[in-house]
């Protein structure tokens, strides 16, 4: 159930977060336009292309975490039925090193996607290509790999791990935090840990690669067509334009499908070597090591405060794991430094190398674990000073960005607290731990806040008005379930003035106008802006033709402008003709109108454009100019804890969220709920479990790595408290997809404390920690 408490507020032309009176307009609750294809099985995902002569590749991965491949005996595999090629570090073609996602040039001139030097268990060491999938699987099992093993650093708690490398860029300091902490009347200090977590999208990573001469086509689920195309082009030393990435539907990404990875290099190499298209799909276990999940983290949060609960100092220290040869920084001070007002602050972070695949982006990287620290710690402070956990958050409310010292563009967090608390019934909460129960179940109510920055960038789109009056939108952006197809159809429909079902949106092909990465909740803002611009320009052309073309029935009217609505064009005063767009185009002898919307700065060079779309180096900082731009949320969660067994069930969730204006509330609510559900998994279930002898994640499958099931999830109520934020985007939206997971885990941990009196600072909150 969903309540829009802001529905009576109307600001400007675009209205509030639920302003769409018409489902088809921007802000309306239009059902997913890609929905019919998805519910009938017609939606064809990347690796489902049916190609003539397709060969099948299967990866073989290392079984040690550290050492060298001594030898690979390929004899039996090579002789197995149907086998076309056995690829090892010795037999695979040599590739060139590729730059990283910032565009930084590679350290090494050459690149081999199959490893001789092993730095983690599960590293690709070989691949077998055969005529059928079954033959490739069977032959891959015949490979004999021998190793020279060396001791591994298995994780952060390994005695050999050390303190790691200081990341100076993460340091944030103002005032004198240690001194202010030392002299504060109330002091709390606690350590918070999050384990290795995995994105686990339902569609495994994989691709089909096909070469035609020196042109490469890759069908691959992708959050970033242009970025991945750049990497393939650099690996194979071919022009960027020679690589085409196709990704019309993506079966979930959550951060994991933004980069070209080594398995892609293996498949594309195999296709080149064989002169045949090759499909390679990771097995589910391989998806746990073929790319990085969320890095395990450790944080210490100390807060010095007055007896009134007003914070005087925060000292924060964080550590995240990275791999032996890659660098991943999970920014642990990101929420710590902006959530609450404090005159003194210090945050520093180290990274520690362990024998793991390089960790990667997973829903709200940085903000998510950061919020677990600070939002747990402030709850501890609330109990320490005897102030309601909601009240203490209001007492320390940051009226401006405490770090950037800039005004918030919009911050409806106070409204989120108020709306969530009212709906949840927070006032009925009794403060004492273990004070609420239902039979054998201890009931706990917890609150926590979340935030995510508004990441901005530039985009391009083409809008065409076709002879039949329909509208076509093209963009190399993608839809992995966020609703890109739908909101771009709504944007084009509203701007041009046609029904949404007369708009066809084409995405997921790198030949289309470019979009940059789909990550950091930035795509909706980027692309609605570009489509709005393109559609406005197409509409101007249409109206211009109608007024000025001598063959137009409007020519004699001498009007300054015309109105286009519902696919028809007429004069604003209602005099003169009223004809369909198709009739107008026919009368002026045009088969289409085309306009490109491009939000890049006007003086951008071709190089700027390439950099903007294929790297993240040109993202606009969220604190650029006079404002600090963020989405905000407050979660109110009820848990029930079995007093004897320590089992925790989430029984109720009310979350109030400020994502600015919502382009489609129906789809935004789905994303919010999805984030909350992933947060419930993070709080109670999800953890990569290490076999310390072998440095190997043992629960590398969907039966042992527990993601929430339907039976784990109660009804969830989400409330939109956002208002349009035109400092954040052209149409007033902020971010949706990353936001809602932030703060869920601490809200649950806080509820568990309220239920049981036990403070769990180490996720996930499993029963053995409670009994």
């Amino acid at each position: 159930m969903t309540v829009h408490i802001a529905s009576t507020v109307h600001v400007g032309r675009h209205g509030d977060a639920s302003d769409g009176a018409l489902a088809e307009a921007v802000g309306g609750r239009l059902s997913r336009v890609d929905g019919p294809a998805k519910i009938t099985g017609a939606a064809r995902y990347a690796v489902e292309q049916q190609l003539e002569g397709l060969a099948y590749a299967v990866l073989v991965e290392s079984t040690i975490a550290s050492g060298k491949v001594r030898a690979i005996d390929t004899k039996a595999a090579g002789a197995a039925p149907g086998v076309l090629k056995v690829l090892t570090p010795d037999t695979i073609i040599s590739l060139k090193g590729a730059s990283d996602w910032f565009g930084t040039p590679p350290l090494h001139k050459t690149y081999c996607p199959l490893a001789r030097d092993i730095t983690f268990s599960g590293q690709h060491v070989a691949a077998v290509v055969a005529d059928t999938f079954e033959q490739a699987v069977a032959a891959a099992a015949l490979l004999k790999v021998s190793y020279d093993e060396t001791p591994a650093i298995v994780d952060l708690s390994d005695g050999k791990a050390g303190d790691g490398i200081p990341i100076d860029a993460m340091t944030k300091e103002w005032g004198d935090a240690p001194a202010a902490f030392a002299s504060a009347p109330v002091r709390i200090c606690a350590a918070y840990n999050t384990p290795r977590e995995y994105q686990a999208p339902m569609e495994p990573h994989g691709l089909i690669a096909r070469w035609e001469g020196d042109h490469l086509t890759v069908w691959e689920p992708s959050q970033w067509l242009d970025g991945m195309a750049r990497t393939y082009a650099e690996w194979f030393d071919i022009p960027f334009e020679n690589v085409r990435l196709v990704s019309p539907y993506i079966g979930g990404g959550f951060g994991s499908k933004a980069l070209a990875l080594s398995h892609g290099a293996v498949a594309a190499s195999a296709a080149k070597m064989l002169g045949r298209p090759v499909r390679l799909v990771m097995t589910r276990p391989q998806t746990f090591t073929g790319y990085g999940g969320r890095a395990a983290t450790r944080q210490t949060v100390t807060i010095g405060a007055g007896h009134d609960g007003v914070i005087q100092s925060i000292v924060h220290r964080g550590v995240n794991e990275t791999s032996m040869d890659g660098m991943w920084v999970e920014p642990l001070g990101s929420v710590t430094s902006i959530m609450y007002a404090t005159p003194n602050f210090s945050s520093k972070q180290n990274v520690v190398r362990v024998n793991s695949v390089v960790p990667g982006a997973m829903r709200a990287p940085g903000e998510n674990p950061s919020a677990f620290g600070i939002e747990s710690a402030i709850d501890e402070l609330a109990y320490e000073v005897g102030i309601d956990p909601l009240e203490i958050r209001l007492r320390n409310y940051a009226e401006q960005d405490p770090h950037a010292k800039k005004a918030w563009s919009t911050r409806q967090l106070r409204e989120a607290f108020a709306a969530g608390a009212e709906r949840f019934g927070w006032a009925r909460r009794t403060p004492q731990p273990r004070s609420m129960r239902d039979g054998n179940q201890l009931i706990g109510w917890g609150v926590a806040a979340g935030t995510y920055p508004v990441r901005r960038a530039y985009g391009e789109a083409i809008v065409r008005i076709l002879a039949d009056g329909s509208v076509e939108v093209e963009s190399s952006s993608i839809d992995m379930g966020q609703g890109t197809y739908t909101i771009l159809a709504q944007t084009a429909a509203e701007t041009v003035g046609v029904p949404a079902d007369n708009v066809v949106v084409k995405l997921g092909d790198s030949r289309f106008p470019r979009a940059g990465v789909t990550g950091g909740s930035r795509l909706a803002g980027v692309m609605t802006g570009a489509v709005y611009k393109a559609a406005t320009s197409a509409l101007d052309q249409l109206v211009g033709l109608a007024i000025s073309d001598q063959r137009s029935p409007f020519h004699a009217l001498q009007a300054n402008t015309l109105v286009v609505a519902n696919g028809r064009i007429a004069s604003p005063r209602g005099d003169g003709p009223d004809i369909s767009i198709a009739e107008l185009l026919k009368s002026v002898g045009r088969d289409h109108i085309e306009a490109t919307g491009d939000t890049m700065p006007a003086n951008s060079t071709a190089e700027d454009r390439y950099k903007n779309y294929t790297t993240i180096a040109m993202s606009v900082p969220h604190t650029e100019g006079d404002f600090s731009r963020h989405s905000w949320c407050a979660h109110f969660i009820e848990v029930r804890v079995d007093e004897d067994f320590g089992t925790v069930r989430v029984s109720r969730v009310v979350s109030a969220l400020d994502s600015g204006r919502l382009y489609n509330p129906k789809l935004a609510e789905s994303q919010w709920k999805g984030g909350i559900i992933m947060g419930i998994g993070q709080a109670l279930l999800e953890e990569g479990i290490m076999d310390r002898r072998h440095g190997r994640i043992v629960n590398n499958n969907l039966a042992d790595y527990l993601v929430p099931t339907n039976a784990d999830i109660p009804d969830i109520e989400v409330i939109s408290v956002g208002i349009p934020d035109l400092h954040s985007s052209v149409l007033g939206g902020k971010g949706v997809g990353e936001l809602a997971i932030v703060g869920v885990a601490p809200a649950i941990a806080n509820a568990v404390f309220h239920a049981t009196g036990k403070r769990i600072r180490d996720l996930p909150i499993t029963l053995e920690k409670l009994i």
């Binding site: 099985g41 995902y45 059928t132 999938f133 079954e134 969907l702 339907n710």
Partner: protein, 157 residues
């Protein structure tokens, strides 16, 4: 490996295939017959994305050899809509926005149709339990429950 003849009755169409006995129903559907609506999420019976109906009952196609379904009636997501008319479960999924990325959706819908037919859609609690074998990482669960509830009422009326 020697191939064997396999006759499959899928969505009312008869298919004759020559298959190695080790070929799963899932791979036969996706790689041999181009019926890619049935999804592969784990290949180990852990996620439910490959759920199809065999003789009207929900079955995991990744844990079923194609040869085991010889002579039996198979329905996949592609065969659920009749004469262009969406099945009430499909329509309810669209209306309730019971999916995001869409990858688990065919399996969810096939499970939901069976769940209702089995008489396990009597309450939200029951729906959650009997739909728990189909994972959805996008987290559409509350909307899936709403869709199944809605479709169950429609099917009953």
């Amino acid at each position: 490996m020697t191939k064997i003849p396999v006759h499959l009755d899928i969505n009312g169409t008869h298919h004759h295939l020559e298959l190695e006995p080790r070929v799963t129903l899932l791979d036969a559907l996706r790689d041999r017959l181009g019926l890619t609506g049935t999804k592969k999420g784990c290949d180990h019976g852990q996620c439910g994305a490959c759920t199809v109906h065999v003789d009207g009952e929900r079955v995991l196609a990744c844990l079923t050899l194609a040869a085991q379904t010889e002579g039996r009636t198979i329905t996949t997501i592609e065969g659920l809509a009749r004469e262009g008319e969406l099945h009430p479960v499909q329509a309810a999924f669209l209306e309730q926005d019971a999916f995001q990325c869409g990858y688990c959706t065919p399996g969810q819908i096939m499970s939901a149709v069976a769940c209702i037919r089995e008489g396990h859609a009597g309450s939200d609690e029951e729906i959650r339990e009997y739909m728990a074998g189909n994972l959805c990482r996008c987290g559409a669960y509350p909307h899936i429950v709403a869709a199944v509830r809605q479709a169950a009422l429609e099917v009953a009326s």
